[in-house]
Amino acid sequence: MPCKKLLLSMLLLGAAAGCSSSSSNQSDEMKEVLPINEYTQLVSAPDITVSSSSKSKESVEPALVGIIPAQLSIPAINVDAKVEHVGQLPDGQMDVPKDESNVGWYQPGAKPGERGNAVLAGHVDNKTGPSVFFHLGDLEAGDLVTVTDEHGLAYDFEVNAVKSYPRNNAPLEKVFGTSFKSSLNLITCTGTFDRDAGTHEERMVVYTTLVSE
């Protein structure tokens, strides 16, 4: 397993080096971030088609296959939690796990490991104290997140960024929307608890992307 990860890392580094050598010598200003730049990631179309019989057959590359998550492990913040499946409440809001020590996988979304945004939500606190995602905000870029299915098949994801948003102005498209990348987004509540509204004032998202299988 370590050998496979090393090989994959080398391949990724090689690919990254290849990409940078083909870009022009621009000043750093060109790459400076407009808000839109952070959304632009290039990904190729999956080759999943077969030509008609009059042409030579193309090799068919399988699309990335996701797993149905059963367990979530985040060693950096001592999280080792069971994963429930959650959907939408009648008003369309994402539902939460029945047991607040578990995390909830948004089932209508992507499976961890396949192309798209897979989303896991966990409670920051319960009525009396901290809960499963209380330390989510301590995660840093580079920390690893592992999702495992019931057969033990595991995918690793790497933290890219940790962001907080006002609860009514979270970028739902970015968290739940269509994407060519294979991402796992971890969400919880954060900020001041507004007792009149019965909820925290902010939502936190930890953005991670697939690094290996």
Partner: protein, 268 residues
């Protein structure tokens, strides 16, 4: 007292505010993705309003949706690595309406390349999936798209046009592409997954004659998204925002009580 009422009123307004309407519509934004579907065009850099949004995009590559302010925008496509100088391969103005999603596809062979702006649907009906075909193959004839051993889904779709979206039961299906009205199959598209609540555009790209060859590029226009982030906190470990309000209220009651007591003392 007034402060507590105000806080409750604000909470009510905010609650009604979140029903319906996505965040990017509230921010007066539209969502756009850029697609390189020109089979013989080189890698390109794409500029919006004079700023690079993607560099080195090759054929069969696309960006994710990007949020842009609603309104008019200038899109320019340059050969990659030219710093956006010289003549662009494409220069086109687009008008984006807030809350809408668009795909800006570079289509056609290089000598007649253009930027095709498509409106992407964002929702499917309850319990359904939505799918359409987008004909982006410059030398393919008008096509029918059929379910293998089943019904015709779309007929007579021409290059640089789309079928309407069809609403179907969620399923995984094998599709076939045929010249319009013909039984011959020019392209098979096996295992197309159509999930509940999702919106799909299946692009036909590439060339019938020569390379890159004709193939399908199924794209997700919209996923089955929730309307709001989940309620993942109960306040047991959090700072609370109304402690100041309670302190003021408590102080006001104390002051009022003291005032009444003093007045009573005077009149007694």
């Amino acid at each position: 007292m007034l402060r507590k009422f105000m806080a409750a009123a604000v909470a009510m307004v905010m609650m009604f505010g979140i029903i319906g309407g996505t965040a990017f519509a509230d921010n007066h934004e539209a969502m756009v993705r850029v697609i390189h579907a020109s089979p013989d065009a080189p890698a390109v850099d794409v500029y919006v309003d004079g700023e690079a949004v993607v560099e080195g995009a090759e054929y069969k590559q696309a960006t994710d949706y990007m949020a842009l302010p609603a309104g008019d925008h200038e899109i320019e496509v340059f050969p990659a690595g030219e710093n956006g100088e010289g003549d662009p391969v494409i220069s086109q103005s687009v008008t984006l309406e807030e809350g809408m999603k668009y795909s800006a596809a570079a289509v056609g062979k290089l000598d007649s390349i253009s930027l095709w702006a498509l409106n992407d649907d964002m929702e499917a009906s309850e319990g359904k999936a939505k799918v359409r075909v987008v004909h982006a193959s410059p030398d393919a004839p008008n096509v029918d798209v059929v379910v293998k051993d089943g019904d015709v889904l779309f007929s007579d779709v021409a290059f640089k046009s789309t079928s309407d979206y069809a609403e179907v039961d969620p399923m995984t299906v094998d599709l076939e592409v045929r010249p319009a009205g013909s039984e011959d199959v020019v392209l098979e598209i096996p295992g197309v997954e159509l999930k509940e609540g999702y919106v799909y555009s299946v692009y036909a790209i590439g060339l019938v004659e020569g390379d890159p060859t004709l193939e399908a590029w199924p794209m997700v226009d919209a996923t089955n998204m929730p309307s709001e982030m989940p309620q993942t906190g109960m306040g047991g470990a959090a700072d609370q925002s109304n402690t100041v309000a309670w302190a003021l209220l408590g102080g006001a009651i104390l002051a009022a009580g003291t005032g009444i007591y003093l007045r009573k003392k005077q009149t007694a």
